[in-house]
């Protein structure tokens, strides 16, 4: 993939999973399976997923508990069962800024190597976010410094 100079941050996780690539791919793309592991909220949470599994199709995962209602959503960029799934991902954890998730599945006998890559995209919004981020850090530092004197 061609990358410009200003790439965003990247988190990459590799795991050997004892399941076939097909089984894992379905966990990521079938709503009834998605709701069984994707929600980070323990306990009684009503979790609904919908997905239109094709490039350009939309997915969403809504988790509602007594206190809060959160939605993670995005658009599929590449759907290549069972090898690769690429989708945009926006939610509270990304400060509602669009990010990109790539899941690659490489069969290793009975097992599968899963490589998950989550990237912050180098968009103007990210740049603004960074600038704001710096502003916040600078403000916090200024506060801390002024309090310590």
């Amino acid at each position: 993939m061609g990358r410009g100079e200003t790439t965003g941050a990247i988190v990459q996780i590799r795991r050997r999973v004892s399941a076939t690539a097909e089984q894992i791919f379905d966990l990521w793309t079938k709503p009834d399976l998605m709701v069984r592991w994707m929600s980070p909220y323990p306990g009684a949470v009503d979790c609904k997923a919908s997905c239109d599994l094709r490039p350009g199709g939309h997915f969403s995962l809504v988790m509602s508990s007594a206190e809060s209602n959160r939605e993670v959503s995005g658009t599929y960029v590449q759907v290549d069962r069972p090898h690769k799934l690429v989708f945009t991902w926006t939610g509270p954890l990304t400060n509602n800024v669009e990010t990109l998730v790539t899941v690659e599945l490489n069969p290793r006998g009975d097992e599968t190597d899963l490589v998950l890559t989550h990237e912050r995209l180098p968009t103007p919004a990210i740049y603004e976010g960074h600038t704001k981020g710096w502003g916040n850090i600078l403000n916090h530092l200024a506060d801390a410094v002024s309090k310590s004197f």
């Binding site: 988190v11 795991r15 960074h130 530092l141 410094v145």
Partner: protein, 132 residues
């Protein structure tokens, strides 16, 4: 082994954060960062608003470079300074936060795979009967 690696990574991360915060704990350097967060700039442009010698400003810039907050590249004869956005990714904890999130999700995914496997192991008898 993995634990030792993780600890080493955490230690070097702490050292990098210390360098970032030390670099930012100075009003001149914060002003330089603020200037560069608007756009990249030549060293002379960065130095202009300060009531100090170019040499003195350069020293501050070197501290920011050493911490990884500021990067320098050459365009012709000019030295261009810019913010290294990756250093902020680390400061604002995005990488740590997302790594923690996905590790937990993948643990949950593997737990579910285990449950589904058990279901399947219970299943085959019924399926055999069904196909005949």
């Amino acid at each position: 082994m993995i634990e030792i690696e993780a600890r080493k990574e955490a230690a070097s991360r702490t050292a990098r954060l210390d360098a970032v915060f030390a670099a930012l704990a100075d009003p001149t350097r914060r002003a330089i960062v603020e200037r560069l967060s608007r756009s990249e700039a030549r060293v002379t442009e960065v130095a202009e608003p300060f009531d100090m010698s170019l040499n003195a400003v350069s020293k501050h810039i070197r501290v920011l470079e050493a911490s990884g907050v500021v990067e320098r590249h050459k365009k012709g004869r000019d030295h261009i300074l810019s913010i290294n956005t990756h250093s902020l990714d680390e400061v604002d904890g995005w990488i740590e936060r997302m790594r923690g999130y996905w590790e937990k999700r993948l643990n949950a995914m593997e737990r579910l795979l285990g449950e589904l496997k058990k279901d399947r192991q219970m299943g085959p008898k019924d399926r055999k009967r069904g196909s005949r």
